[in-house]
Amino acid sequence: MARSGTPLVEMRSICKRFGGVQAVDDVTVDLYPGEVVGVLGHNGAGKSTLIKMLAGAYPADSGEIYINGEKVEIATPRDARRHGIETIYQTLALADNLDAPANLFLGRELRTPLGLLDDDAMEHEARAVLHRLNPNFKNIKDPVKNLSGGQRQSVAIARAILFNAKILIMDEPTAALGPQETAMVAELIHHLKKEGIGIFLISHDLHDVFDLSDRVSVMKNGRLVGTRDTAKATKDQVLGMIILGKLPEEETAEDLAELH
């Protein structure tokens, strides 16, 4: 995929420390419009932490974030949303006791002219978007705790795409899904790509994201190992990066022996 012009997102030299742990150490990644970048690494590699700083879940200790070439401050989820960044969390981050429309619009409710909640308008929009994603979606007024895993995932995805996201972060989007729902997510990613949305796919499993991604950035122990075009790298090479924390050209014979 041709990358030209200004990147949609650039995270430069990002650092984050939790107590004595350097969770993210001087990491630089970028993302172009219509591109899918997989962020890979083992559990604890720092990929979720990195991406949560882009989502505004917590601020970075140091480093800079550029959106369309402009430096931005992202301190809260609200800041991130204002810059068109939407996040689908691995946990889905749904309020289980509320229904689907309430979850879709949580934090940016539609209001009547009097400033009150316009539940009917929200239900109307929710029905439209959920039906598009998942034609089998019923019981829209039930608390989401009563919904199936796939339906809950639909709610989380609908929330992210409802507000014209420019940048989408998907944290382990298919980890809890069956084959059919995984296919649905893959199709959705292709569709969003075509609309020019940039997508970060976070996963610990190479096979989940390799075919969907244009590039992969691999992290280990809080540091960026490297970024590779999926068209120019093999799965084995990327696997080596994940496990050894070294670029393919740096690998020694002993490393390879360890791998195989």
Partner: protein, 419 residues
């Protein structure tokens, strides 16, 4: 209530069979739009009332007793509506009884010993000061919880001691009395009701409002092409509400002033309670604040990730609770015609029990204002009924304690077998 739960327990494959057993209830609740838990509580209340009435030889279900029951329960009811918000947001407030005492004492002190006696602005100003004081107390506790990171249990346990002590300090424990005669009406004494005509007018206005808003909501849903419940169910619901409202007015009007035929009508403290219920239900259902309270209770992390200012919302919850405690203090002092430092002692327990019996889940995220009021009515009915029967206060505590456990246990069993 108990028999239903027992039956569930005896079934061989409870999860599957109970679903079948509860199906008609669920269908009914879908038609009426009423929570099935609320329906169960209403049924329990009816049973309790009938049993108490038989037991007392017809003394319980008299206009006089129901009138007194409503007045006695109003302070707890007012605070229970706020406790729903507190508990739904996964907090607790143990200080409401002490705050009632402290604010009530302050208002009585201002009214009698600071502001000039007899001035027309005396009692409104003392109420305004009391409400502001309640809000400040709530702000103080809310800031500790939200920004200090101290658990609400600890902050309000401290508040329980602090404000009870403060209530004593204001006058060194001396009772302050008498209060302004107009102010006393707010407590619902002999003249503290609005009379027959006003009660009917208010009742009819309430019925009209229920019908108007039900049909308006229905037409809006139809305009969007959403499914609506059948028209007959809608009309039946409005009729049920009308029956409830007008029945209530009738009972309140059937109780007369001493040695006369003059009907009393709705007592002012009950009117205050009803206004609080309407406002709090409105906040819970139609404002972003109410929505955020429930979202925080359902999943605090999700609420924060959605850009909700969880800390500010927490502070607001405690401010609301403080103001409601102050309103309850107005009703209590007006009813006593005095400020005493022991007012509201142990009220926090009744308030929390009312909310919990009314279906508010201590795990957070679940609860309704009308449910809490129903819980308060159930508790007050049991207490009042047992007084009529002549049960000692120690035994009354034992029974109410057991009812509290049974109510929550019923809830646990019900939820386990629901699906």
């Amino acid at each position: 209530m108990a028999s239903d739960a027992d039956a569930t327990k005896l079934r061989s494959r409870p999860a599957k069979r109970a679903g079948v057993g509860l199906a008609p209830v669920e269908a009914f609740s879908r038609l009426t739009g009423l929570d099935s838990r609320l329906l169960a509580m209403m049924a329990a209340l009816v049973v309790i009332w009938i049993v108490l009435d038989l037991w007392t030889g017809g003394l319980f279900l008299t206009p006089r007793n129901l009138f007194n029951l409503a007045v006695q329960g109003s302070a707890v009811g007012i605070m229970a509506t706020g406790m729903v918000f507190v508990i739904v947001a996964r907090h607790i407030d143990l200080s409401v009884g002490s705050v009632l005492g402290f604010v009530g004492m302050s208002m009585a002190f201002l009214q009698v010993e600071v502001f000039p006696l007899g001035a027309a602005w005396n009692w409104p100003l003392s109420i305004a000061c009391g409400l502001a004081l309640g809000a400040l107390v709530g702000l103080w506790q809310g800031l500790w919880v939200a920004y200090g990171g101290v658990p609400a249990f600890v902050v309000t346990l401290g508040g329980l001691l602090i404000f009870r002590g403060a209530a004593f300090e204001i006058t060194d424990g001396r009772t302050v009395a008498p209060l302004d005669p107009t102010y006393q009406l707010l407590g619902g004494g002999i003249d503290g009701s609005i009379g027959a005509t006003a009660s009917w007018a208010l009742g009819l206005a309430a019925v009209a409002a229920v019908a108007f808003f039900s049909l308006k909501a229905r037409s809006k849903r139809l305009r969007y092409g959403f499914p609506v419940k059948p028209l007959w169910a809608e009309v039946a619901m409005i009729a049920a509400w009308a029956l409830l409202i007008l029945g209530f007015v009738m009972v309140m009007n059937a109780y007369t002033k001493p040695r006369s035929d003059i009907p009393r009508g709705i007592p002012i403290p009950v009117l205050i309670l009803l206004a609080v219920v309407v406002v709090m239900t409105f906040i819970a259902r139609f404002t972003t604040f109410g929505r955020y309270v429930f979202a925080m209770g359902g999943n605090p992390e999700a609420a924060a990730l959605s850009g909700i200012n969880v800390k500010r919302t927490t502070v607001r919850i405690f401010v609301v609770m403080g103001v409601l405690s102050a309103i309850a203090a107005v009703v209590t002092t007006a009813r006593l015609n005095a400020g005493t430092n022991s007012m509201g002692t142990l009220a926090e327990l009744s308030v929390i029990a009312a909310a919990v019996i009314g279906g508010t889940s201590l795990a957070g995220g679940v609860g309704t204002v009308p449910g809490a009021i129903l819980g308060a009515v159930i508790m007050q009915s049991l207490d009042n009924g047992m007084v009529l029967i002549g049960v000692s206060s120690s035994m009354r505590n034992i029974v109410i304690g057991l009812v509290l456990i049974a109510a929550v246990w019923f809830d646990v069993v019900y939820n386990r077998h629901r699906r």
